[in-house]
Each structure stands twice: as C-alpha cells, then as structure tokens.
C-alpha cells in the first residue's frame, strides 16, 4: 500500500475515474494549464488532454450551471471551486438547479455532478475566503455532502461521488492537502453515509468531520496520556447522507458526547448531530452534549487569533474535561 498525500489521493481518484468513464470531465478555474490552484489536478491535462480537463473563465454561476446542464444529458462533470467560499456566487445553480431539478420534474431527470474544492478556515485569508458551507448545503434535500479528513477517505469518497448519480459536493481542506496516509492502489470506494471510528475509546465520544477530526485525535492523545481518559473519535466522513447508527452506537457505549466542528455554531453540522443524539439516545446520556465550534464571528484575519477562533486542541481538551466532570 502506498503512503500518499491527501492531494495525491484526490488526483488519483480523478485519474482513475477519468479512465473508467469517458463521460467524466474535470472543469474549473486554473485546473488545466495552471495545474490547479492547489495543484490537485496537476498532470491531468497532460495525460487526458483539453477535452477532458477544461479551464473555465472566472464565472462560477456560468460554468457550474453549464456543468449541471451537461449532466442532465449524461456528462459527469467534476467541477472545482477554488474555494467553497466562491460557491455563493453560483448559489442559485448549486441549490436551486442541481438540488431541485429532479424533484420539480417528478423524477424524470437527475444531475450526476460533483463539485469539489477546499472548504476551510485557518489559512489567514480573511472572512470571504474561509467558509465551511457543508451545513447550509446539506440542509437542502436533493444534495449530498461529504467531508474527507484523510487521504484514504479523500480518494474513496471522491470516487464514490463521481459514480453517484446525484449531485455530490466534496468539502476538502487546503491544510489537509499535504497530510500523508496509506492509500490502497487497487480500486475502492468509501460509500456515502458511512462514518468511521478513527479511534476506539470508552469514556467519551467525540464526533467530528473534516479537519476537526485531526484536531480531535490530537486532543484524544492528550486526554489519554495526561488525564487517563479513553476517548472514542467518530469521523462522520459523510454529512448527507448521515451515518446515524455509528454515532448512536458510540454514545451508547461511552454515555458522553462532545461534538467538534470548524463550522460556526448556529446551525452547523453539530446542531443536527446534537438533536439526533438527544432524540435517539436520551437515556444513554450521562451528561449534556457539549460542542466546540469556531468562535461565532466572521473569520478574523490575525493569524494567532484565527488559530484561537478555530477549534484548537486546547479548547477540545478543556471542553472534553467539562463533559467528563
């Protein structure tokens, strides 16, 4: 098994699917000639040519709408947003069209598109470039949303997304692009709607997605070594569909839950998870459900403060100890 980066894993997923299905097209700003703003699509133009790897003008509403329209006729576009923060420019296409066309036609049409790109803060780029819109997108029935935290999950989820006949939005993370991990060479997918217990424990369940998983794993180490607490970390991987059973099984085991997200508090993904746990595992709870979200403000520019705004390892450890009190 090779040890590759998250970035390379995404690229491998696209390469394999481009080979597998000639209807797959990669589209976005700077994806071809520039080799990708974050080099995720590096080398693909050379390998597959300009018909399959397409540079678009700065025109999100236009090219994402174009991709959706093409998908209605069977093309499978994988569209890159340089930042998911730019999705709001194309919000009408992403939500109203991709999300609703199947429903409004009474099931006659489907839009097998993938939109992928980084959805993260923590990079010192200010409020308009640091959004994590997985919760607001997942709140629309008709849309699927996934958030891989590791190279293995990134490749598996992107492949599953490309093969999925519904719109799937993939939330990546520029900070995770360099993370390395074991990734099989052979063909595999990570099915949507399946969470992963990244660390087994008995005293506390931490539920997280995206980079918050990595933060939580670090916090879990500290909690074990310095506080003698055994922490279980559940990586959602898929936001919609959501693996409710894995979350509930973990809470039934540990009886205490801490939710960690890089979303801002109001109606982030964890608001939905908290409702789920109290509604279906109420009698298992030995403490109220706690949550660590990003501090509720537009993303601050000052780097030292942004690190505090995001859920840091320290904040997760402190909140975990409160849940365990």
């Amino acid at each position: 098994m090779a040890v590759i980066s998250y970035r390379e894993a995404l690229r491998a997923a696209m390469r394999e699917e481009l080979k597998r299905d000639d209807k797959v097209v990669i589209m976005g700003e700077e994806v071809a000639q520039f080799n990708g703003a974050y080099k995720v699509t590096e080398g693909l133009l050379k390998e597959f040519g300009p018909k399959r790897i397409v540079d678009t003008p700065i025109s999100e509403a236009g090219f994402i709408g174009l991709g959706i329209g093409a998908s209605m006729l069977g093309i499978r576009p994988v569209m890159e947003l340089m930042f998911w923060s730019f999705s709001y420019v194309a919000f009408d296409q992403i939500v109203n069209n991709a999300g609703n066309i199947r429903y409004m036609s009474g099931g006659l049409i489907n839009c097998p598109i993938v939109i992928r790109g980084p959805a993260n803060g923590g990079t010192n780029v200010g409020a308009t470039h640091s959004h994590t819109p997985e919760a607001i997108l997942a709140s629309h029935p008709g849309i699927k949303v996934v958030c891989p935290a590791t190279p293995y999950d990134a490749k598996g989820l992107l492949k599953a997304a490309i093969r999925d006949n519904d719109p799937v939005y993939v939330m990546e993370n520029t900070i995770l692009y360099n993370d390395k991990g074991e990734v099989p060479d052979e063909d595999y997918i990570v099915p949507l709607g399946v969470a992963d217990v990244k660390r087994i424990g008995t005293d506390l369940t931490i539920v997280a997605h995206g980079r918050a998983v990595i933060t939580s794993l670090k916090a879990a180490e500290i909690l074990e070594k310095e506080h003698g607490v055994s922490v279980e970390v559940v990586d959602l991987r898929s936001i919609r569909p959501l693996d409710e059973e894995t979350i509930l099984a973990s809470v039934r085991k540990t009886h205490r839950a801490l939710l960690v997200e890089e979303n801002k508090p109001f109606c982030g993904v964890d608001a939905q998870v908290a409702y789920l746990i109290q509604s279906k595992a109420f009698d298992e709870l030995d403490a109220p459900i706690h949550r660590v979200s990003s501090i509720d403000a537009p993303q601050i520019y000052c780097k030292r403060m942004e690190d505090q705004q995001m859920p840091s390892v320290d904040r997760v450890v402190a909140e975990a100890l409160k849940v365990l009190a």
Partner: protein, 368 residues
C-alpha cells in the same frame, strides 16, 4: 400612471399583419399542406389551453403563479417546429407553450397546474416547471436567467458527445440583465457551443418597460457583439419569419458549432402573471392594437387561408377541437387525485428512487 413604453421594434412591426415576406423562404415553402395545418393547429392549441387556464385560476384552483403565453405563440411554434433529434430546448417560467409544442399532452399539463399526481411533474413542479426530457425539453425554470447556463451546458454535452445538435435557450427581455445570462453568453462564444439564445422580447419585464430597465435599450440582441456572437432580430408575430431566421441560426449551430442570439419581438396580452393587475404600466389601447392587428395565430390563419391550405370551416373545426380538448383536460385535472404525503419524499435522489445492487450509499438521507 407611467408613460407607456416606446417599443423599439423593427419597422415591420409597426404595420398590421399582412402576407408574410417569408412565405417563399425554402424552409417554409418546403412544408407540406399537412405540416402547415399541423403548425396552425399547434398554435391554436396553445392559445386555447392558455385561455382555459385563466378560468381555472379564477376559480382558485391554481395556487402560485401562472404566466400566460397568449400572444407569443409564434415564437415557440416557429422555433420548435424546426427541432431535430439532437436539438434541445430550455426556457424560463412562461413555459406552457413550449411544452405543448414539443408534444406534451394537455391532460398532464393541466393536471400539473392544479398540483395533481397525474401532472407532468406528478404535482411537484407546478406551472413554472414543465419537463419532458424524452422530448428534449429540459424545463420550465423559476429563477430569471438561471436557465441560461443550464442550456449552455446542454449544448456543451451535445458537442462533447460529437453530435450535430443545439440547445435553444429561451428567456424574456428582462433576463438579459442577469449575470448568469452574461456568463452563459461568454462561455457559449468562448467555447464555440451550439446555443441559440432566444430573447422573447414582449416589451416588458413584469411591470418595467425596457426603457426603464435596460441601459442601451435600443436592441437587446446587439449585446451579442460584445461577446463576439452572431445575432438577429425577428418579428415574432409572423411564424414564417420566425422559422426562416431561426433556420439560419440552427444551421450555424449544427455546422459550425457556434452560438447565436435571436431577439424575437412579440407581445403578451395578459399581465406578467395572473397576479399582475396589468394597470400600471401600459394602455388598454396598446393591447387592443396587437390583438386586432398583429395577433400571430390570427395572422397565420389568414396566411393559410390565402394559401388555400385552410378553409374557414377547417379553421373553426380546429379551434373548436382545441377548446374541447382544453375543457376535457380541465375536467381530467379536477378529477385527478393529489399526490400523497408519502410521495413528498420521493423523487429527491436518484439513488433513493433506484435502490439496488449498484447503489452504494447508506445512512440517513431524509431526516425527521
């Protein structure tokens, strides 16, 4: 009351409808008698279907919006009558005429308006969302201009698959100011996509005349030059002219894979939608003028009478049959059942509707 708009239409529009200058155009002259009668029939059917909808709306059976195509029939009829196997269409919310032209049934269209499960979208779309993908009709869209990138994408797919085809993207004169439309123009021209943008210019975007909404209102199609695209203007009351000029754009799409912007001047007799009292922005005289002197259905009837293709009896028969068909469709809609509560959560995801050995996703996707 606001000053009525000064419509910057071509000269031919200032004249009452008369013999069409385009009757001899090969694309029209080559039509058989049967084809001409069929074209007239289709226009009459649109007219009577739309008029029958008014009564249903006034009876309170159609909730939401109802945007009528009455007066604009020749635009849909003329353009869609040219479509081939790989030519696709997409439009905004004034979409009944286009649906009937591609061959959707009056029953399913009427039932959709009152939200029945027998409607063309099973009661899930409504007036603004007619779809018939098997007839190359991709909707029926509610957000002004939102359909432009979608249609450009349909054309992209046709080209990607190496087919000789096109996509007609219909929109109103109000849509040309939307950003999405400009982005679509740019992409279509930049990538040489076989898109035919049809601006159905009826002079008013809701209650705002062109003069009040559009900088450089003289001619909307001319904006195509800013995108290095071909363009043309058409008198939309003359179905022959619509056919003749559209045929050229279609040829450009098929043979050169290049886009065109067509501005088709037309008129609507009723308000923007049924909710529009239609009193604040134009004169009654203006509407009467169009009805009496430039009505496209009447004009084509006259044309075919002149050509001795139609007789007065046949025309009456056709119109009465269309009215009867619309009446029957209204009854069908009335007697049809609603979708059920269980239906609300169907047709959201392809995977959920097609669960089987190939579907791999698990977990909860519809939440309580």
């Amino acid at each position: 009351m606001a000053k009525p708009a000064v419509l910057t239409h071509p000269e031919s529009l200032k004249r009452p409808a008369g013999p069409s200058e385009y009757a001899k155009d090969p694309v029209n002259a080559s039509m058989s008698k049967a084809e001409k009668i069929a074209l007239y029939t289709k226009m009459a059917r649109i007219r009577h279907f739309e008029q029958r909808c008014i009564r249903i709306y006034q009876q309170g059976k159609i909730g939401g919006f109802l945007h009528l195509y009455v007066g604009q029939e020749a635009v849909a009829a003329g353009t869609i009558s040219l479509l081939g196997k790989n030519d696709h269409i997409i439009t905004g919310y004034r979409d009944h005429g286009h649906g009937l032209m591609v061959g959707m049934g009056m029953n399913e269209c009427m039932a959709e308006l009152t939200g029945r499960v027998t409607g063309c979208s099973q009661g899930k779309g409504g007036s603004m969302h007619y779809f018939a993908p098997d007839k190359n009709y991709w909707g029926g869209h509610g957000i002004v201009g939102g359909q432009a990138p979608l249609g450009t994408g349909l054309a992209y797919a046709v080209k990607y698959m190496g087919l000789k085809g096109s996509c007609f993207v219909y929109m109103g004169d109000g849509a040309v100011n939307q950003g999405a439309v400009h982005e679509a123009y740019n992409l279509a021209s930049l990538w040489d996509l076989p898109v035919i943008f049809v601006v159905e210019n009826n002079g008013y975007s809701m209650g705002t005349s062109q003069e009040r909404s559009t900088a450089h209102p003289g001619c909307l199609a001319k904006r195509a030059e800013g995108y290095n695209m071909a363009w043309d203007v058409i008198n939309g009351h003359d179905v022959y002219e619509v056919r003749a000029k559209t045929a050229l754009a279609l040829k450009r799409a098929h043979e050169e894979s290049k886009p065109t912007v067509l501005e088709i001047f037309t008129y609507r007799y009723f308000g923007h939608s049924m909710a529009d009292p239609d009193k604040t922005y134009r004169d009654k005289e203006e509407i009467k003028e169009y009805r009496d002197k430039k009505d496209p259905v009447l004009a084509y009837e006259q044309e075919l009478l002149r050509e001795k293709v139609l007789t007065a009896e046949l025309s009456l028969q056709i119109n009465e049959a269309a009215m009867a068909e619309a009446d029957k469709a209204a009854i069908f809609a009335d007697e049809s059942p609603d979708p059920t509560v269980a239906d609300i959560t169907k047709h959201i995801y392809w995977e959920e509707d097609n669960r089987g050995p190939k579907t791999t996703s698990r977990g909860t996707i519809i939440f309580e």
